[in-house]
Symmetry: C2
Subunit: 341 residues, 2 copies
DNA sequence: CTGTTAGCGCGTTCAA
DNA sequence: TTGAACGCGCTAACAG
């Protein structure tokens, strides 16, 4: 039995054994209907017997295309991106395309490296889930020989097609809701402030400024991906700086979960004494005690639409520079009081 | 300006512009010290200016190797795998290798397809995070022309190197702990029962059988990835079938979180009336109210070690058929009573 | 339905 | 330090 780094079986090996030419074996694999049934079956048996696996590098080189999509996400630990990835998968799953993910760790440099790597592989299409270094990367995108779908915020100039959500407006809606519930000192808690986060912060600040309630000392970030433990820490920190805060708008539901736990531990009753609003409507949010008021972003759909654009483009449809704008929804549950009036 | 699917810039284009031969440009990229500084810089400038990106397919075909590792996980939604993936990343991050992930959706067929795809690309190494269809896949592994690291349970025959954890023993420890706390009717709650899950179930069943407390109607699964909402549903189902259950051993902490929420809603006090033990010690487990008793598995380290094996192997070290066995730890927190006696 | 010829873009090998 | 010739494994285009 062969083992380890043995020489690879090639198309030619199979062809020799079958007594046909290489192209016939190639056809059996790609256009089986063009080969007579008998011969086809005989070759398939030989392929199976020899354990032949086509070399994608050679295939990609010869045909000048590749049947995998690259999906770049800035973080693997942020559950928001998981919802997004599931959407892409769902759409791509029963096509002939495969997906490969890569993690850019919120780094523009890494993102550029990964985009280059994907381009180097003649990837059929790329989804860019991040939102950093847009200027630096748009040059790369323009030069790409494949479709690139960007997931961005509204109002951002993109080099190609894009899926956009208005994060600033979503944050405004959440902040307005907290005000409408009668909360007056609303903290903003978040992790590494990426572009999306900055836009949410803007929306939050705008509403509080209008209401004359803005205070920069209400804003707290840690430089890492959001976690539930971080939520606990941020609430303590916020309370230390401004003991009078009566609500928190969290940049992600996992933070909100931690805030709830910590508030309970501090003896603050939610929502009466302290209001919490999350972001993204993750799995656990609906079943917490009390259930979490949050902003639902169409994570899955964003992924699905991105996958759809990729596939349609790969099938030869021009998708050009369209930007698909998707909405959000404020889900009022029980971590905020009933609205006044 | 060039845009869209323009012809790709090749090594030859760069060489022509520089007035040198292709191989010199190739050397600038791979063995810069072998090209005179002046020429090197001039070529680098041209490469930059033309936006040349080497074609990995051609490179892989010519050199017969590739500098990316493939990491296959059965699920993206299971946070346990995220910890694992982070471990791999951490080890691989500042090497010259890149990582590409693929999701096998707990499907043996998909796993085989992905392994074939990776092999087709002459991937430098593969990590197999799943644990399904081992027999069917070991043939593929043996034929692989790259190192394959499997993440498995102890006692499983693997074709190559492996990282193993004794899931049955971990489940035994958890179940024994619940018994020691005085719980007598212990439900087992889980998602899609993969091989790991089956082994945990075995460990759980063994301990309860010894104690004369085993009852198949205590075991509940849903055929999907575990979620917090699933935890709520499973607890209700378990209580409907056996109203007298006084504890739950959950196959994953997110289930345990849901079980806690649901128990609170049902007015059951945790840990006095109802005990909960989780699995994996996820981020939120330490800060829940009350904090979760759980089994900590070395997810990050498993990934780190897998990445390490891959790199050492790619650097030419023989890593052969070793199996690295890693331990687990029962973390006693407050969702279980103090042990009796 | 099957085969022949040519070449994808690069790295290896050997020579200058 | 640089280059020429060749081939990696496969597919496109055209023949038969």
């Amino acid at each position: 039995m062969r083992r380890g780094r043995s020489e690879r079986t090639t198309l030619m090996d199979v062809a020799n054994r079958a007594g046909v030419s290489a192209i016939t074996v190639s056809r059996v694999l790609r256009e089986p209907e063009k080969v007579s049934p008998n011969l086809r079956q005989r070759i398939l048996d030989i392929i199976d017997d020899m354990g032949y696996v086509p070399d994608q590098a050679a295939r990609a080189l010869a045909s000048r295309h590749n049947s995998t999509f690259g999906v770049l996400v800035p973080s693997l630990t942020n559950r928001a991106f998981l919802g997004f990835m599931q959407g892409v998968e769902e759409r791509v799953r029963d096509s002939t395309f495969r997906i490969q993910y890569a993690n850019t760790h919120n780094s523009v440099e890494e993102e550029k490296r990964q985009v280059r790597l994907l381009m180097s592989q003649n990837t059929a299409g790329i989804v860019l889930g991040g939102l950093e270094g847009l200027d630096e990367i748009s040059d790369l995108i323009r030069r790409a020989n494949c479709t690139v779908i960007q997931v961005v915020d509204v109002g951002i100039e993109t080099a190609g097609a894009a899926i956009a959500v208005d994060h600033a407006a979503a944050a405004e809606a959440a902040t307005r809701h907290l005000l409408a519930c009668g909360y007056r000192s609303i903290a903003l808690l978040g992790g590494t402030p990426d572009e999306r986060g900055r836009r949410r912060t803007e929306g939050y600040a705008r509403v509080l400024q209008e209401a004359g309630l803005y205070d920069p000392d209400l804003i707290h970030h840690e430089n890492a991906t959001t976690t539930t433990q971080m939520g606990c820490r941020l609430l303590r920190r916020a309370l230390k700086v401004r003991p009078g805060i009566d609500a928190a708008f969290c940049q992600n539901d996992d933070l909100a979960l931690g805030v709830l736990f910590e508030a309970q531990r501090l003896g603050k009753s939610v929502p009466d004494e302290f209001g919490i609003c999350g972001y993204n409507d993750l799995d656990f949010s609906a079943v917490m005690n009390p259930p979490l008021t949050t902003v639902r972003t169409p994570l899955f759909e964003m992924g699905y639409r991105a996958g759809d654009l990729l596939i349609r483009s790969a099938e030869g449809n021009a998708i050009e520079r369209q930007t698909i704008k998707l909405g959000f929804e404020l889900i009022e549950r029980r971590t905020t009081r009933k609205r006044e009036g």
